[in-house]
């Protein structure tokens, strides 16, 4: 009986392994990408493209989510989107998504930019950082695993933490 419980405990601990993963050195390949990865329009010539779904591992890593939060300020995302509540740009912490809520959609918005003010960051910032920001943006709507989401911010508390956020869809 005891070995079984121990094995189960070990297996359970494996489930949360990714939370503490930190990638401190990134390969040059992880830095480059200038174009988006999904088709935005449903109307396509010829055979339709297969649908792309992406699993963003940054969402499962606490360090990456924290880096996303830091970069969100460093690259002045908060200049337009404030702390997620929106301002000049749309709110990010609510349930409405103009260009889709999936990681690949948010990634492409950051890479390509969007009309009426959203700049294109493709080629300006490394691709792995875009994935980190994507993960943080989704965490504002409670769309990332609670285990990895930020429990508190380093700054003055202006909203409930990403960890306590209910899922918005």
């Amino acid at each position: 009986m005891t070995p079984l419980i121990l094995t189960l405990c070990l297996l359970a601990s494996l489930a949360s392994c990714r939370r503490e993963q930190r990638q401190l050195r990134h390969s040059p390949q992880a830095s480059t990408r200038t174009g988006g990865i999904v088709r935005d329009a449903e109307l396509q010539p010829g055979q339709p493209w297969p649908e792309v779904t992406v699993r963003n591992v940054s969402e499962e890593r606490a360090w990456d989510l924290n880096e996303g939060q830091r970069l969100y300020r460093a690259y002045n995302c908060n200049g337009c989107h404030a702390n997620g509540g929106g301002g000049m740009g749309p709110a990010l912490m609510d349930e409405s998504w103009i260009y889709g809520s999936h990681p690949e959609n948010i990634h492409d918005v950051i890479v390509e930019g969007r009309p009426n003010g959203m700049p294109s960051f493709g080629g300006k910032i490394p691709d792995y950082q875009i994935w980190e920001i994507t993960a943080y943006v989704r965490s504002m709507s409670g769309l990332v695993p609670k285990l990895a989401a930020t429990g508190r911010t380093d700054h003055m508390q202006t909203k409930i933490s990403e960890q306590s956020k209910k899922e918005e869809k």
């Binding site: 040059p28 460093a74 080629g123 490394p126 950082q129």
Partner: protein, 315 residues
């Protein structure tokens, strides 16, 4: 760069480090004498106790010696206390007129250094290289942008912490011209050990000349290579974090690069600033400093050479 007193608290180069080293030597001498005296007294006591077979009484046999030891202990402790208080008074920044104010902000893992004028306006900015005029008191205003760091130039002064959300002030003075290495002295994360800077104490004339250069905007690119380098700087990721005064790059996330070509070191006094190191640093800063916040920048080799040529021209 590697003279014997490059980073050495026992070779003071200014009055404050002198005070500290004075107190240090005084403490060391007193403690050494007391240490030796106690051991000698202990050995004498043991030898005498062996000769005597039966102690007839437990009362102290030599009240005079006891009184002497007590008086010596009290006297020495008082002397140490007085020297410590006098030292701290001499080091206090209060009531000291200064000729210049410099604001030093600690970041993970580099130092942002800004020179202020008489009206506390920021007039020049550099990183990881603190120039001070010889023989003048300079007020250092310390702040931190993330975690607690500590400013420590052993040849000039003791340590002073940089605390987030708080400004701390202290005064330094260098009397000997020279190059002194300084080190972050409070564990601040992965690359704490590689968070250093250099202090350059130079005659007033040289200092003023240097400051005038720092105040100016960046040099315009002259050769075709440098012009292409500037284009690379402004069109790729560099300008997202760094600023070059006189161009459209104005971000304050990373060190200011307006006069990066004139700096002696890279990566917070970790590697000498030369063409090879600069190229390597741009391509993969994490190779030198794992965990550094600067991402790898896979550039076309020709673009990288042009960029390095441009940055080197920013004297």
């Amino acid at each position: 760069m590697t003279s014997s007193s490059y980073q050495d608290a026992l070779h003071p180069a200014g009055p404050y480090a002198n005070t500290i080293v004075g107190v240090w030597w005084f403490y060391l001498i007193v403690c050494t004498i007391v240490f030796v005296a106690v051991w000698i007294a202990l050995f004498i006591a043991i030898r005498r106790a062996r000769r005597r077979v039966e102690p007839d009484t437990l009362a102290p046999r030599a009240p005079r010696a006891m009184m002497l030891a007590l008086a010596a202990t009290t006297g020495l402790l008082l002397a140490m206390l007085v020297s410590s208080i006098a030292g701290a008074r001499a080091l206090s920044p209060q009531g000291k007129a200064v000729t210049r104010e410099i604001q030093v902000t600690g970041h993970q893992w580099w130092w942002d250094i800004q020179y202020l004028d008489e009206r506390s306006d920021h007039i020049a900015q550099t990183a990881n290289e603190l120039h001070v005029p010889v023989g003048e008191r300079v007020r250092i205003i310390l702040a931190s942008s993330d975690v607690i760091h500590s400013f420590w130039v052993p040849n000039l002064h003791g340590k002073r912490d940089l605390i987030p959300g708080q400004k701390s002030i202290f005064v330094i003075q260098a009397d000997k011209a020279g190059l002194y290495r300084a080190q972050c002295a409070e564990f601040c994360g992965l690359q704490h050990a590689k968070m250093a800077f250099i202090v350059i104490a130079e005659p007033k004339h040289d200092f003023e000349q240097w400051l005038a250069t720092m105040r100016a905007s960046a040099a315009q690119p002259k050769t075709a290579d440098e012009q292409r380098g500037q284009q690379v700087f402004l069109s790729t990721s560099c300008g997202m974090c760094h600023a070059i005064k006189g161009t459209s790059a104005g971000s304050r996330v990373g060190p200011d690069l307006t006069h990066v070509g004139s700096r002696r070191t890279l990566g917070a006094a970790v590697i000498p600033n030369n063409r090879g190191n600069l190229s390597g640093w741009i391509a993969d800063a994490g190779g030198v400093k794992p965990g550094v916040l600067m991402p790898p920048n896979p550039l076309d080799p020709d673009d990288l050479h042009a960029l390095v040529a441009y940055l080197e021209s920013l004297k």
